[in-house]
């Protein structure tokens, strides 16, 4: 069995307490919620923090409830809790579906929505043991200066591999972050940056407190589709989240698609409104949207599964998601 590097474990009960510990230990500290991603990564020696600040006792990070004009989901709510929550299922079925598609039941019982939003990027050349990475030669994202995916690039292209952020983006969700300088709110769609090494705008010493979803988004028709080879456990090879505001007769007012599992951040598909606005989602429109998605998505060898096939699956999964949305 792989060994964990040694660390001290802290368990504060408030956000301020956690922030204090982060301030005290600086770069030697990392946050842990469910640990389902961090612990394997530590075993792979991708991170060797001297201090882990656990969020499990911080009550403020719990709770799924309506607050004003939004649903707030505490960042430390587990993916199981999100997937099975009646309000989430009723208002945002695509989010429930995405949360329910992460890994397997045991991991969803431990892994959290906040952790999924902040999930480290993944790459076949990165998520490996230290022995393996050393035999290969270090990479840009960890200890090296070469990207084994692109061979030439100076930019890390590790893949954003989380199931829930694409859905949250289509639902216009925002994130509440707490840091030493106070709290701020960021839209999920603005949260990610195209840098595989650190692909979010969360500062190392900020804590994701809650995910806020406007209740107004409940009127959107939503769907989620995930490409994976097994029916459980696997990270996405591709995910598609779609949402549309439609008139009663099905005429599209606004439509959005977000795809991930390709590059370092979720890709917000462009040009969709100009295709679909004012039209009903008939087969022709669906095909046109799917083909626009296809043109915009170029999977890389950052995941070991055949990128040409993954690219070919983009229009298929976009179409399938749109057909689900149409039926919703």
């Amino acid at each position: 069995m792989l060994r964990l590097p040694p660390f001290r474990y802290h368990r504060p009960s408030t956000v301020d307490g956690a922030l204090g510990l982060l301030g005290e230990f600086g770069d030697d500290a990392m946050l842990v919620a469910g640990g389902t991603d961090l612990i394997p990564n530590m075993k792979h020696r991708l991170f060797e923090p001297a201090h882990l600040v656990a969020l499990r006792d911080v009550d403020e990070l719990r709770g799924i409830r309506e607050e004003g004009d939004r649903l707030r989901v505490g960042a430390a709510e587990t993916l199981s809790a999100v997937a099975s929550n009646p309000d989430v299922s009723r208002l945002f079925p695509a989010l429930a579906a995405a949360a329910g598609h992460v890994a397997g039941p045991q991991l969803r019982n431990a892994g959290t929505l906040g952790g999924n939003v902040c999930l480290d990027t993944r790459c076949t050349y990165y998520n490996q043991t230290r022995f393996w990475r050393e035999a290969l030669g270090w990479c840009l994202k960890k200890d090296g200066d070469v990207c084994h995916v692109t061979k030439v690039g100076r930019k890390c292209v590790a893949a954003h591999s989380a199931d829930t952020p694409p859905v949250l983006a289509t639902l216009d969700a925002t994130l509440l972050l707490a840091g030493p300088e106070g709290r701020r709110e960021l839209a999920v769609r603005d949260f990610f940056v195209a840098d595989g090494i650190a692909n979010t705008r969360r500062q190392p010493h900020e804590i994701l407190v809650e995910i806020r979803i406007p209740l107004a988004s409940a009127r959107l028709r939503q769907a989620y589709a995930k490409l994976r080879q097994r029916k459980a456990i696997d990270f996405p090879l591709l995910t598609v989240a779609v949402a549309a505001e439609c008139e009663d007769d099905g005429t599209v007012v606004r439509i959005e698609g977000v795809v991930t599992g390709l590059g370092s951040r979720p890709r917000i598909l462009t040009g969709w409104d100009e295709v679909a606005e004012g039209r009903v989602l008939d087969d022709e429109v669906v095909e046109e949207l799917a083909s626009r998605a296809h043109r915009q998505c170029h999977p890389l060898d950052n995941i070991i599964v055949d990128p040409e096939w993954r690219r070919a699956m983009v229009p298929v999964y976009v179409r399938r998601a749109l057909l689900d949305l149409r039926a919703a």
Binding site: M1, L2, R3, P6, G104, T124, Y125, Q128, T129, F131, W132, E134, A135, L136, G137, H148, Q229, R230, K231, A232, I233, D234, F235, I304, V305, D306, E308, W309, A312, M313, V316
Partner: protein
Amino acid sequence: MKSDNDLKATSLIGTPMRKVEGLDKSTGRALYTDDIALPGMLHGKILRSPHPHARIVSIDATAAEAMPGVHAVITGRDMPTRYGIIPWTPDEYPLCLDRVRYIGDGVAAVAAVDEDTALAALERIEVVYEELPAFLDPHEAWAADGSTPYIHEPKKEGWNGNVTKMVHLEFGEVEAGLDEADVVVEGEYFFEGTTHAPIEPHCAIGSWDGVGRLTVWSATQVPHYLHRELARVLEVDPASVRVLQPLVGGAFGGKSEPFDLEFCVAKLSMRTGRPVKILYTREEVFYSHRGRHPFHMRYRTGATRDGKLTSVDAQILLDGGAYASFGLVTTYYSGQLLCAPYAMPAYRFDSTRVYTNKPACGPKRGHGSVQPRFAFEVQVDKLAERVGLDPIDFRRRNFIGEHTRTVNELRVTSNGFLECLESVERASGWAEKFRRLPFGRGVGVAGSTYISGTNYPIYPNEMPQSAVQMQIDRSGRVAVFSGASEIGQGCDSVVAYIAAEELGVPLEWVRVLRGDTDFTPVDLGAYSSRVTFMLGNAAIDAATRLRRLVQEAVGEAWEVRPSEVLLADGHATWAPDTARRMPIAEAFNLAEARSGTLGATGWYNTPKDVHGEYRGGTIGASPAYSFTAHVAEVDVDVETGFVDVRKIWVAHDCGRALNPVLVEGQMEGSAYMGFAEALMEEHVFKGEEQGRAGLHHAPSLLDYRIPTSLDTPALESLIVESIDPEGPYGAKEAGEGPLHPSIPAIANAIYDAVGVRLDRLPFSPPNVWRALERAREAGSLGKPASPGAGRASAAGAHDADAPPPGVAEPASVEAVRGD
């Protein structure tokens, strides 16, 4: 050997029973090797090569040895004796001596107070390597001319050191048979390598007592061979070596030879005087491998117009990885095990195993014969289509029969293959489905055979292959000392069932003391599906000796014939008047008073006159063969390439099901494993262009995908009992045979669904999608024609219910002659 307790029908055998260790396993009480912690135990780690092929220039361990908490560091020089499971091909050292041959090859080992200290010490060992060009492609390894160093030294001057073994065997007139055939199908097939992925990683503990006795606990499936090799390599008297085998958490062939960690824990314990444990990481399990060889195969198969095979010609290149392992046997098995259940008038195979700079391949469930069976059963499907026959009918017409010899002279006794075919045909609703399901859904069939153990042990000797010792306590309790390897397949249960059956005691009264070479007689190990057949016969032998003593004592007391005394249901009973009975313990006490302490040994040895009279003719010879047929039903998503196997019907002739629950478990487990290899598993390595030649693609269970329960098809087990004349109560094997047809049945079902032949494994979505794309471009995607539809002369008319014939031309290369 049948029991001679002939006056009664069996009472336990054939009924569903619990596994004797089942409750301990399900409650967590069962002890596996890693559960054992000894006082003062140290932890070991092995330093592994980051290079696929290199000379070791120097190793400097002084810094590691100086670290606090480090007790010993050893290198190849500490154990400079070659070993190998096959006595003719020893080519491994416990730790590499002067050359590393794959990424992951062991170079040095450390014993320290804990794992973290041992790991830290590994980083302080300085190894200087001189890199050598690596061979990854078996074709290149085969074509090598010595201009760059071979992977191993050639056995003779001028030979290719990259070749482990070449086998060329020919039976009958192969070319003439092909010439006479009305139809010849030629096909090229590729079987990607797969690994065992047992849930329990390899683990071993060594303990040297300081005065000459060495004890090793190991998650092995071959304690006896481990015993021999430990003694030889470590230069310890075999009488002073004790191997203990705790329960094993899955093996599947992946623990059937000695591994570096077993030698290392022993040597480190001898060096430190303290027990030492090594537990592999999952990554190390992938590197130690010994899994299924990648096979590159070409077949030419001929048949007459009325569907009789005339000749089979096979050429096979086996990609063996860095060491020989069982490779000599694998090379023979790649050809020898194909000659049933169909009669072949002529057969030739030409198999070559080469070394490559990758983890060594070895035996995995269905050793050496799963790959050719895939290719051949697809060939048969193509032939059946060519001659316009239903593929089940085609197989039936070529049935080899029972009590016969194969073309390669192997003796076949009981043979329930026809019943297997009929079972899957009926249960699957074949007649309504084949070529009649809508486009995208299909059914496929395949058949196979497998050995129930090998007639010849791995090292030549005349001694029994399996033995047990049994003793009876005055309470009625029966103790069985069994050296067989319980790896989850149920051999401890089998001896308990037999003891209970023969001696008439409740199953709960039987204790199986197992897995300890100091106290149990030799059984050669859990491999080649030998255990139920051989151990079962040995157990019957021992129990029968004891039973006779009891029958004689009771017969004497009752003044009746001993053969009229039945031992069953906890009583001794007089057969002519069953009201006359006594509790079994009382009967045992009578026997003990009359004959002395009740104990007996029993053993089994194989018949030695049932093989072929040619070099290699003993390999593949078995006292009995099992037979299997599968029908698989699949949905193919033609847009994505996803194949959804809806159901597999598995009919298996196991001779007799001693416990039908365990047999069904083996059948389902086998079919699952074959299904997994068909759809998902790929044990593959990076090339130079992917950054590092020979680096395992992704050595983890996240990326090496085996199906979850959600992915697994419905499996229906159909037990066929042919009652083998030499098996225990008529039993044959059930642990490996039922794997074989899964893969070709799925391949054939995919063809029935969409008209696309998949001749390369795995049928993963990207691979299937590419094949579908090619077919789409070629315009050949579509439901294949019904049998007879493409053959106007045959039935005379199309079947009215059949869908209109689609595009009949399959995508693969075929040559048709005589049409």
